[in-house]
């Protein structure tokens, strides 16, 4: 990629030797990591300007760079140090590139691949372990939908466990995307009186069970309120978050009428052996403190063609997942042939999550 296509600043941290041998900071010989450019050659606007479409000249670019030097200072000092090894320098280079990358939503496919490569390399440098991370885009003619059978769910919570393991959720705060509500028969959908943290043998006499999670609304209120456009609706209907663009204001959490979003109050911790290494940039990659996250219908699985972890784990067959645009899909049959309803339909959020009964 030529330097004119770049949307963020890059700085060469003394890796000239490597550049000569046509490889770069990230260890890739391709231009994926965007560190092949000369320092401070910035014509294109960065992520902020992409969003607001502000024209940026060379001068403002320098201004911005000066302001950002505080962040980069650490990286630079490492790079200038004689003691620091190649790996440390590479790490700083990656940190720099990551710091100034744009919003994932606006990235080209190469830029997406670039950031994914950097994150994989960064994980490798930090832990010595390899992960695979995808930046697969939405498939054409696919719109994901979900159905939940209230009469089948027995409250076993196998889905919750599978979800936590699949999506690398914080074990300390016991974050869970899915909630299973135990409701009393004859009281209707009374969420105030329902218990979502029961511990007794299930199914309990005189109760029924109902699961909630992110409903991937077609008209998502959480997306509208995000002040930095860190969350958006993808073409296959998934509502996703760029964890690196999120500022943690939690507006979306307040806007969601379904309690579908979760916030990382502390640094998410997952034991190294339990980390799911099959990741997607928008899905289960490791998050940091102070960002939002939520169910993505297991984007790393669903875009590859697999069922989400909760669907696979459910022993009762209460969970049905599929392509709404495929007239022969089971999800379409359920919607067209069973008596389905959605939660708070009157809000106009158009959740793509239908409930039904036998």
């Amino acid at each position: 990629m030529s330097s004119n296509d770049k949307k963020w600043f890059s700085l060469d941290l003394g890796n000239k030797k490597k550049q000569e041998s046509s490889s770069c900071g990230c260890g890739k010989s391709s231009s994926g990591c965007n560190s092949h450019n000369k320092p401070i050659q910035e014509k294109q606007p960065d992520g902020f300007d992409q969003v607001f479409n502000v024209k940026m000249d060379r001068r403002t670019a320098f201004k911005k760079l000066t302001a950002s030097l505080a962040i980069g200072a650490g990286a630079i000092s490492t790079s200038c140090s004689v003691v620091a090894g190649d790996e440390t320098k590479e790490k700083s280079q990656i940190e720099w590139e990551e710091q100034f990358k744009g919003n994932y939503k606006l990235m080209t496919d190469e830029e997406k691949k670039g950031t994914v490569d950097r994150l994989v390399r960064s994980y490798q440098l930090r832990t010595g372990k390899n992960i695979s991370m995808s930046s697969k885009n939405a498939e054409e003619d696919v719109l994901f939908g979900y159905a939940f059978n209230i009469s089948k769910c027995q409250g076993y919570m196998d889905c919750v466990s599978a979800c936590v393991e699949e999506n690398n959720q914080d074990r300390n705060s016991q974050m869970e995307y899915i909630r299973i509500h135990e409701m009393k028969d004859g009281k209707g959908f009374n969420f105030n009186e329902a218990d979502d943290n029961y511990y007794h043998e299930v199914p309990a006499e005189g109760h029924f069970y109902m699961g909630t999670q992110c409903f991937h609304c077609d008209n998502p209120p959480c997306v509208d309120v995000c002040p930095v456009q860190a969350t958006w609706r993808e073409d296959d209907g998934l509502v996703v978050i760029d964890y690196d663009w999120c500022i943690g204001c939690r507006y979306c959490m307040a806007a969601c009428p379904y309690d579908g979003r979760r916030f990382n109050w502390s640094k998410p911790e997952v034991p190294e052996v339990e980390v799911n290494k099959d990741q997607h940039y928008l899905g289960n990659r490791m998050r940091k403190k102070g960002v939002m996250e939520k169910c993505t219908f297991c984007v790393q699985r669903s875009r590859a063609g697999k069922n989400p972890a909760c669907v696979e784990a459910c022993p009762t067959g209460s969970r049905i997942f599929g392509n709404l645009l495929d007239p022969n899909s089971t999800i379409r049959w359920v919607i067209e042939n069973k008596k389905v309803f959605r939660l708070k339909e009157d809000l106009g959020t158009e959740p793509k999550f239908w409930y039904f009964m036998d």
């Binding site: 016991q174 043998e201 199914p203 077609d218 697999k306 049905i320 645009l325 359920v334 793509k352 036998d358």
Partner: protein, 209 residues
């Protein structure tokens, strides 16, 4: 008077044109998700993703029931003591009359409907013991055991065919492969016991106290 007519005429034209303009939607604007699905799936012509790589080693057979055609796992190779004729060389009625016969299949007890409704030979073919049998005596292959269940459980059968009952194997993408009845239900004892939930969130308890 003529001027007046002119005036009315102009207003009418304005009204009609404004209605037409205001009702015009952008291509991607739909009133609700149902309209969007209907409109967008009209030209659906398959997708590049296939479930085949995920089904992989699972041996499946294709079945067609009504308007639904899909795959189910092959059954016979999964039954430990199949084929029956590998042990049983005689017909059932001959075996029953043996003098010093031992009780076979002592580990299986039927807990499915009551004695008046069902016993072994309601489902197992007494004449052709490698097969199953329908109520009217038609032979049913072990691979198609769902045909046996569907004789009574008609409602579940309809839901299963459509995909509302049971589980889809591995992948949401076509071709569809669904689990069959006996992959979840034990035909001799189809009832499920209660059990403890898989997890309990202790943090949630603390937060809410």
């Amino acid at each position: 008077m003529k001027k007046n007519y002119h005036f009315i005429y102009i207003i009418c034209v304005l009204l009609i044109s404004s209605t037409i303009i205001s009702c015009k939607h952008k291509e991607d604007d739909y009133h609700n998700i149902k309209d969007a699905i209907d409109a967008k799936s009209k030209n659906y012509d398959g997708i590049s993703i296939s479930s085949e790589e995920f089904i992989g080693d699972i041996n499946t057979i294709e079945i067609t029931e009504g308007e639904h055609t899909f795959l189910i796992p092959e059954r016979k190779s999964q039954i430990k003591s199949y084929a029956c004729t590998e042990c049983h060389t005689k017909d059932l009625d001959q075996m029953q009359n043996l003098k010093d016969s031992k009780k076979a299949h002592w580990d299986i007890s039927i807990n499915h409907a009551d004695d008046k409704t069902m016993n072994c030979i309601t489902c197992h073919n007494a004449k052709k013991i490698d097969d199953l049998t329908s109520i009217t005596g038609t032979s049913i292959d072990f691979n198609n055991s769902y045909q046996l269940c569907s004789q009574c459980h008609t409602r579940q059968f309809e839901d299963w065919k459509g995909g509302a009952h049971g589980k889809i194997l591995e992948s949401w993408a076509p071709p569809r492969a669904s689990m069959t009845c006996v992959n979840c239900h034990n035909p001799h004892d189809p009832h499920f016991e209660t059990k403890w939930p898989d997890r309990f969130n202790t943090q949630k308890v603390k937060e809410r106290d």
